[in-house]
Every structure is written in C-alpha cells, then in structure tokens.
Symmetry: C2
Subunit: 524 residues, 2 copies
C-alpha cells in the first residue's frame, strides 16, 4: 500500500542518517539533514521537500556539500571585510579543480580552441604571429573534420566522427591494441557518462553496483538518483588502499544472499580519494572476476596521466583485458576519461568520453538512443578531448614548450603530493598513505573521544566537525571522509594536492598549528 | 510478484507499440521496435536488451531516430559513390540545427569566445587588428568575472556569478520585472535542465506531467526515462494550434480520475513542432490555471527570439505572471532558455539556463544539490548564454554589424517559413499552419488508404512510411508526426525552415515532384 507522504518522508529521513548499510557496518555517515520542522508541510508552495522525488532527497554529494557552502559564506565575509577572519583567503582543497588554484592552461590546447571558436582567424595573416604553426594546422584539421565546417552545429550524438577517430588512434597508441571510433561516446565530462551507464543498468533497488569504499561520491549519488543499490567493497588502508579480490567475492556473495542482482563493478584507477595505482596483476584478477561473474567493468580512468611514483605505471583495463586474450565479445568494459583531470585540468570545459566495448548491438543501440536525447556533448569539450589524446609530437613547433608545461605541472604535483603527505604524517594521530596517483591525499585522523562527543553534540559526524573547525581556523577547505565512505569508527578527510607549490609551506604551517591546537583542546 | 524478464520484456514491447494512451485516443504511434527475435536471450553478453532498465528501452526520440540512421547510411553511400542516388546530398530538415545547413555564427559572439578561450591574446597588440574593440572589452569583463581568471576551472554549480548577473539584467530588460541572479541555473543546453526538473518532480508512474500534443519529444523521452506519466493535452490544429484551457482542464480531470497526480504543465512557446506564438491573454489564463491547480509551469521559451509575424510578440511567462501580480511566492515557474536556438543557433556550444522561481528554499537546495553532482555546465556555453542575453548595444563598435547579421538571419527565416508553408499548402491533401515562430512547419498530410495499407505491410506508421519514401527519393530528412504525437488518424511531419534561402526553390521542386508521384502511386 502507498504510504502517506509524511510517513515516507520520515522513513527517508531516518534512512538518510545511515544512507547505505552493509550488514552491521556503517560506512557512510553524512552530515545530518536539516531538521524536519524546517520542511513542514504547511508550505504555501505546491512543491515541497516532502513531495519531490525521494531519490533526489536521499542523494548526497559531499564534495560540494555543507562544507563548501560554509566556505562560500566565509569568502563573502572576507570580501566585505578583509579582517573578518584570522586568514585572508579561502583555499579550496575540496575538489580536483587545478586552474581554480592558479594552474595555467596548456598553451597549445587553448590556441587550438580559440582558432576553432573563431575560424575566421585562420584566414588572416596576423594569426601567424599570434599562434604556433602547429596549432593553426591542427585547427584547420579539426575544422575540416566537422561536417560543413559548422563549428556551432549539433554533432553526431556520439561526437564528431573525425575527433573520435583521433581519440581512437590515441587509445591504440596508449594500449597497443585496436580501438574502434564507434566505441567512443563523447560526453560533457565523465559525470554524465557515469550517469548514462547507471541509467542503463539499474532497473530497481534490487540492482546493485559494486563500488570501492572510500569512493568518489559521484558513484553513490548516481546510484541513489537512479534508484539502485550501492554494494560496497572496502579498500585496505593498511596495504596502501589495496583492492583484494577476496573482498570483492565476499561482498558480491553477501549482496546476492540479500537478493541483490549485482550488475557492475566500478573501479577508480588511479584511486579517488585514495590515490593508489593498481598493479597490473591485480587488474588482471579484477578482469577475470568480472568475466566470471558476468559483471560490467566500469573503469574510471580519468587520472591516467596522474602517476607520481616511478615504480607504478597506468595500464588501462582495456589493455589489460586484451592482453589476457579477452576480446570485444568476452567482457563488458566501459572506460571513462575526462579533460578535467590529467596535467591539463580543464575542468570548466566539460569534455570527456567513454569507450564502450563488449555490449551487444541491441544494447549499443539503446546507449546511442539515450545519448541522442541530449543531442550531443559540447563541441569545445569534444575538441579538447581529441587534443589530450593527441598532443603535440616530436618535430611540431609546440612540442618543446608543450612538454615543458606538461612536465612542470606533473613534477610539481609530485613534489606537492610528497610535501603534504609528509606534513600530514607528522601530525599527532594522523597517518596518510602515499598519493601514487590522482590528485588527493586521504589521511586517517584518530580523533580523541572528547572531540567525537563534541561533534555529536553539534549533530555532526566527527570528521565533518574536524573539517569545519579546520576551515573556520585556517580557510582551508577539505572534505570529511564520511562523504566518501570509510570503515566504521575510522575518520578521514580528503585534501587535494593542488595548491601552487609556493603556497604549500604556508598551508602546512596553518594545518599543523590548527591540528596541534585542536588536539590540545580535545585530547582525552 | 516480480515478473520474469521475458514477461516484462514482452509487456514492454507490446506497450511500446502504443507508447502512451489517453482513453481511447492513440496519439503516439512510433515506428515499430526491432523484432523480438533479434533480442533473444541466448546472448553471450551479460547485458541484453531484456535486462536493461525498461524505461530506457521504452524511451523514444524520433528527432534522431530511425529516419536519421537511414539518412546517415544514404550519406555514406553517396560519399562512396556520388551517383548512388538520384540526389547528390542529404538535406537535414529533421532537427533545429541552423549552422549545419550553412548559417554562419554571429561574429561578435565568436570573437568573445576565442578571446576567453585564449586570454593571452588580450595582452597582445596584434589582437587590436583582429578583434573588435567591444569584443576585447567584453572578454576582459568576462575574464575578470571569473574567480582567479581561471577560465578552465569548474564554476559555481549554478554557473559563474558574474555571468548570471548579466543574464538576470538581460531578463529584467526583456520583461520589465526584477530577476534574481540566484534564480539562474546555467546548463549544457535546455535538455539537461528539463531532465533536472523531471527528476525532481517525478516520484513514480503515478506522477503526471501535462504536455502539449504535438510535443517536442524531449518531454516524452524525459518523462519515460524518469518513470513518470505523460498527460497529453491536444493543441487545436484548426485554430492554428490553439491551446485551450478547457482542454487542459479536461485532461487534468481525466488524469486525476485515474489516480495520476499531475505535478506540472509543460508549455512550449513559440511552439515546437507547431510554430504558434501564444497570445498574452491565453498565457494569463494558463498562469491562472497553474496557480489554481498548484501545478509547476515549465515554460520552454527557447524560441523567444524566433517570431516571424508582425502581429505576434513573445512574452515570457515570468513577465505575464508578474504583470498579473503573482510574485515569487505565488507560482512555481521554470523558464528554459538555450543558445541553440534564436537567431544565433549555437547548438554545438551546449549553453542554456533555467530561471527557477516560486520554489521553497528547501526545494531550491535540492535543485542546487542535483546541479552540484554534475559540478557545472561548460564555461564556453555559460559565456555564450550571457552574450545572447546581453548582445552589443547602440554605440558599441560591433553594434551595426551585429544588428545586420541578426536581422539578415531573422528576415531570411521569415521568408523561408513563408515559402515552405506556401509550397506545402499547394500539395494535394496537405494543409499547413503558418510558422508564427520557432523553426518548424508541421503540415498535415491526408494519406490515401492504399498508402496506409502499404505502410502497415511494412510495419511502419503511415507518416513514417511517407517520410522514408521522401528521404529515399529526394535526400530530404523530415520527422514523422508520430514522433511528436498527433490526433489519432491524422498524419503529419515536421520540417525545419532552416535550409539556406537560395536552396529553398530546389527543395520545393523536389518535394512537390515527390509528393505528386507518391499520390499518383497510392491515390485511392
């Protein structure tokens, strides 16, 4: 029978405090929802929090949640009065958004984008003096690849064919295995691609998706919005966030025993928020597991350019599965890529693609149909996605400067990751695994009982309490571990490694001083 | 009890032939799904058409459906052999995509975009010779509005504040009523905005959205994908696609009597595919209806610049409701706008916004949260959305040339709409209402019984049969009326008015010759 709206709302509210449970483990402890009374039904508005889609209400996205709203308010206060706080700026370490913290765009990429945005420049002699020869040549190539040179037209629903050819060639060069341009779906960043796959696979709350814990909350949010069930598997912090096949099996069996039909395994490599880079033999075992269990492998590979340790190397799951002899009919594999990450960090351009292999023609048609409903992804993002998969080559005029810009960013990220990791590991009660890749550190903080009690009194998760204190004291914005999921009773936060290198020492000092004072205040 | 997958699939398959029924009226008769046997369950693939989300399977989007796939195949054949068909090119009149048919972008917009994509140009002296003074000035303004001048960073989830301020000022100037920049959500075109509202409002198949019939199939697709119920209201072809309040009331009561909770009324003005422009007093009655019935008014106003008849004028529903004295707490109103339409037709840039008024702070928070999960819309599209709402003004260097470009496009669209309408009305058994606005004509074709029988033999809807014949004979791509919905037993197609003016006579000739032959072949 249909429950009353109020009943359903109370039910949801209670659930939202736990969000997703796995047996007796509570891995996700979000900040409490606003009080029920503020959502009372005596509203003059026909649409209320009680009568919207409950999946929307339930969905959470900590990376832009409460802590960011708080930070934005502090920033407004600082703008109004620079002396409002003991710090003079907000440092956003909550999100992998490199250019917001001063990273400069790659010159070659922007030259090409500008020329494609205003192709009339290509015919003018002054352009030679303003742009590199290879950016002009590339822009001509791209404009010629667009049917009718119509840079402002909707493209094919999967993206412009010529750009997909370029991307497919880039994937072949990366992997050493063939790639079909028809397998590429260009998207507005990786997020809509993930949504598209969840929309395809999830039929009801009885459909599950295996996700790492900790995970990037796009996955939990998307699964919730599509009415599915997040089946967690825990990464092992003690072994550098290791992904154990035994854990996958255990959680799969557990989900099955509850009547959950598990459809896919999401793997984030390099890891977000955890920064580990999977070893190739581990990847082989993961592919084998998916093959045996009939699971779609959703491979989030958006950090493929971000590896900071010489002993590790990125291998795409496509390459790994092909090297095992599994072809297009043997394993369902979706690889997500984005222009937002890598060394270029072009987040605002919203470009990306998914490479979809191992699906039947019938299902491929359905994916194409859903892509068609949104017509196409933005062309600027499409062009940029082709550029990142086909950057300047030896002999091109831009090659040297491109490599210098790229190298400087990646080597500086390596330095910053190391400096922040070392500083975090020096803090009382804090341990932090190395960031082998990606853009984040995810330190564990052992909070004193007194701090946990103080958090409870504020109806806050203990790590959220810590992060809010940190923000209020230093202007540094990090995201509580509870937004990503963590082993119950452990507390973490995610901090990007993205502030510019010259600012790291000051950040370390502010963080260290804050932590010392926090522990002094709450030490048991 | 849970049905077996095969049972559910058969159920869906049967339903999909009818799609949505309203009492005894069948308004949507899509082209038949591929045969069941091709989706058999002996697939080696774990994901099959039988076990994906049934809402995905059910969803239809004719504008890029079967007919376009057919056209793409013909195009490939022509590329391989220019003599493959009796025509030498495919003319895509299936979708409102002006630049794909040769419309040139507005120079000022592209100048600003290029400068924002590569801001290093702003510091170079050669730039003065290549760009207009006001485009340079505008680019400086925009770059300065972006926090840290980070043109490659994720923005605020609703879009860059400064750009939203510009858009709000443009809306105020258009309407003569205040607009709050915090009500603006910038989106990758209007489609994701429509999806966002459907996701918010639809809880189950018992939630209905009132949609015009004929409608732009984004609405039916989005409602299906979100598991809701399309409640049709019929536009009256005899009165130029008039929207009657009595029809709204009748359909609302009918839906209520079936236990459907109607949440919103979608209105497309100017109409797509129908091209009518609503009269202001009609709009007032619509606002009053929504107010009385507690419905959200979803106003698709993406064709607000496209009005071709002197006796009609576009009025936003926001302006109409404010002029009736209804303020922000009186009526829930969402206005969708896009950079894809208007005189500029920048479809590939995927820019747009929705102005959201009349929702409680609680619900606004939920909309913000959902927007946050996708981080932000693309910045190029955001910039363009601000430009279309704030084009060059008297005294700006670009003003004259901008007005000339804009005027030439709009006056040519007027000419083309009239020429095509007149040609269609001359065809045997065809009547076509005037396109007062938007980009389409939606002629009614009275098909002979023999043609209807021939279509049935091919398992095709009669209008789809006609459109496929037209394509195969002439290379002209139009979309069958069954993809938009129509009064049962009537047949239509949608044809854009977008081919360049000098090509219209040839298109008219080809269309006329084809139609004559078709009628000769099938005349009863």
């Amino acid at each position: 029978m249909r429950k009353s709206a109020a009943d359903r709302f109370r039910h949801l509210f209670n659930r939202s405090l736990v969000f997703v449970r796995n047996q007796n483990q509570q891995y996700h402890h979000p900040s409490p929802l606003r009080s029920l009374s503020s959502m009372a039904s005596d509203s003059p508005f026909p649409v209320t929090a009680q009568n919207i889609n409950p999946q929307v209400l339930k969905c959470q996205y900590a990376v832009r949640g409460e802590i960011v709203t708080l930070a934005q308010n502090l920033q407004k206060a600082l703008q109004a009065n620079p002396d409002a706080h003991s710090f003079d700026e907000i440092i956003y370490c909550n999100i992998g958004n490199p250019q917001s913290l001063g990273q400069q765009p790659i010159t070659f990429f922007r030259e090409v984008l500008a020329l494609c945005d205003y192709p009339a420049l290509l015919d003018k002699s002054e352009t030679q003096g303003l742009f590199s020869a290879d950016s002009i040549e590339r822009a001509w190539q791209i404009v010629d690849q667009i049917p009718g040179r119509a840079t402002g037209a909707y493209s094919h629903s999967q993206g412009i064919q010529g750009l997909r050819d370029t991307i497919a060639a880039g994937i072949e060069e990366r992997d050493g295995f063939p790639c079909n341009a028809n397998d590429i779906f260009l998207t507005d960043g990786a997020s809509p691609a993930v949504h598209m796959m969840m929309q395809l696979l999830i039929r009801s709350e009885k459909d599950g998706i295996l996700c790492p814990i900790p995970q990037y909350p796009l996955y939990s949010a998307s699964i919730t919005l599509h009415g599915g069930h997040l089946v967690p598997y825990y990464l092992d912090e003690a072994t550098g966030w290791g992904l154990e096949i035994s854990e996958l099996k255990k959680q799969l069996e557990d989900a099955k025993s509850k009547g959950i039909s598990v459809r896919a395994l999401a793997v984030i490599n390099p890891g977000n928020p955890t920064g580990q880079v999977l070893a190739e033999d581990n990847q082989r075992a993961i592919v084998e597991f998916c093959k045996q269990e009939g699971l779609v492998l959703l491979a989030d590979e958006v950090y493929q350019e971000n590896v900071y340790v010489p002993e590790k190397k990125f291998h795409s799951f496509k390459k790994v599965s092909r090297s095992m002899g599994y072809g297009d009919n043997d394993i369902c594999l979706v690889s997500f890529q984005s222009v937002s990450k890598g060394y270029h960090g072009e987040c605002g351009k919203r470009g990306g693609y998914m490479e979809v292999t191992g699906f039947s023609p019938d299902v491929r048609e359905q994916i194409y149909k859903v892509a068609s409903v949104n017509l196409c992804s933005n062309i600027t993002g499409q062009i940029l996605a082709s550029l990142i998969m086909s950057p300047p080559k030896v002999g091109d005029e831009s090659y040297e400067s491109f490599m210098a810009e790229r190298g400087a960013i990646l080597s500086s990220l390596t330095t910053r990751a190391k400096a922040l990791e070392e500083a975090l590991n020096k803090l009382e009660g804090v341990t932090c695994n190395k960031a082998e890749g990606a853009m984040y550190l995810f330190p564990r903080i052992r909070l004193p009982e007194k701090a946990i009690k103080a958090a409870e009194a504020e109806k806050s998760a203990p790590d959220a309490f810590y992060c809010k204190r940190l923000l209020n004291a230093t202007g540094i914005v990090v995201v509580p571990g509870s937004g990503f999921g963590q082993v119950p009773g452990t507390w973490h936060f995610r901090c990007t490694i993205l502030p510019q290198e010259d600012r790291i020492p000051a950040i370390v000092t502010r963080l260290t001083e804050f932590h010392q004072k926090f522990m002094d205040e709450f030490r048991d």
